[in-house]
């Protein structure tokens, strides 16, 4: 995957002082569960935590990702329809194209480009649930996948 890696820095640059402060405070608040350095992935997760307004949960993220949902397109009722139930393994799109593992330990540049993350949450949540995901759902899922 060849996505931009310095977006975290540019996001930080483009944020105004108070917002950045809030983000960093939130990052500090969830830092127990996260690595010390706030790289782009940690900043993305901290952003969702700030919007959700409550602590994120890896267990909740796993249940959401593994769960079967209603309201979306009939062929894809779950995130696992394409990403499979084993996030350490390669997934597959409906047209047969391989998808790199979602587990960060297997695909280290996962969830490091905020635009890419938002684009796929928007699409995949609409496809699976027929609606956009909430910041809490997104934050939970990324918290879980980052620990995998």
């Amino acid at each position: 995957m060849k996505h931009v890696h310095d977006t975290g820095a540019s996001v930080a640059r483009s944020l105004s002082g108070p917002i950045l402060g809030t983000l960093m405070l939130t990052a500090a608040a969830v830092s127990l569960a996260l690595p010390v350095s706030a790289g782009p992935r940690e900043q993305i997760i901290a952003g969702y935590a700030a919007k959700a307004g409550k602590p994120l949960s890896a267990a909740r993220g796993k249940a959401f990702f593994m769960g079967t949902h209603k309201g979306g397109k009939p062929d894809t009722p779950s995130c696992t329809s394409c990403h499979t139930r084993n996030v350490h393994q390669w997934g597959r799109t409906r047209a047969g194209k391989p998808i790199a593992p979602m587990a960060v330990s297997k695909t280290p540049d996962r969830f490091t480009d905020p635009k890419k993350v938002e684009k796929w949450f928007r699409r995949n949540c609409r496809t699976v649930l027929g609606r956009e995901c909430t910041p809490l759902e997104k934050g939970d899922v990324l918290t879980w996948l980052s620990s995998q």
Partner: protein, 154 residues
């Protein structure tokens, strides 16, 4: 494929024959190859779920229809932000196939074009059964150089 795809001076005659035979016009393919996708944004965005299909496989009418509803794209949401969508749409329209006549309903699948089904009937069942292929839309599973626009038997 023995005969080249390119229309010759006999084209109108051939087209008439093709119509008689119930076949839609062929795409502007020459010798089993098409121009590869050169726009980096189109290539990146349209290759996330399948290979980026070359614009020369379908006429502008087809691409218009496809780009009109990316949120409901073959059972999936493939929506883009408006700026990116406009750029890619323009690219596809600029490089679309020029057919003499556009069948109704306007096709949105390459895999349902008459020339395609003719070339692939023997492989349809195999594609469905083999989990490594999964779908005839998965060109790269059988055509190693499909992304570069090369479809000759290899």
């Amino acid at each position: 494929m023995k005969e080249p795809f390119a229309m010759t001076s006999k084209a109108p005659f051939v087209a008439a024959l093709a119509l008689l035979a119930g076949l839609a016009p062929r795409p502007g393919l020459a010798e089993g190859s098409v121009r590869q996708v050169t726009d980096p944004v189109a290539k990146e965005e349209c290759s996330a779920c399948h290979m980026a299909y070359q614009p020369a496989f379908l006429p502008a009418e087809s691409w218009k229809k496809i780009f009109a509803d990316l949120s409901n794209h073959f059972g999936e949401d493939a929506s883009l932000d408006p700026k990116t969508e406009a750029r890619i749409r323009n690219y596809y329209l600029r490089h679309a196939a020029r057919w003499r006549s556009i069948p109704k309903p306007v096709p949105i699948r390459i895999t349902e074009l008459p020339w395609f089904t003719r070339e692939h009937t023997r492989f349809a069942a195999r594609a469905k059964q083999d989990p490594k292929i999964g779908s005839l839309s998965n060109c790269t599973a059988c055509h190693r150089y499909a992304e570069r626009g090369w479809f000759e038997n290899d």
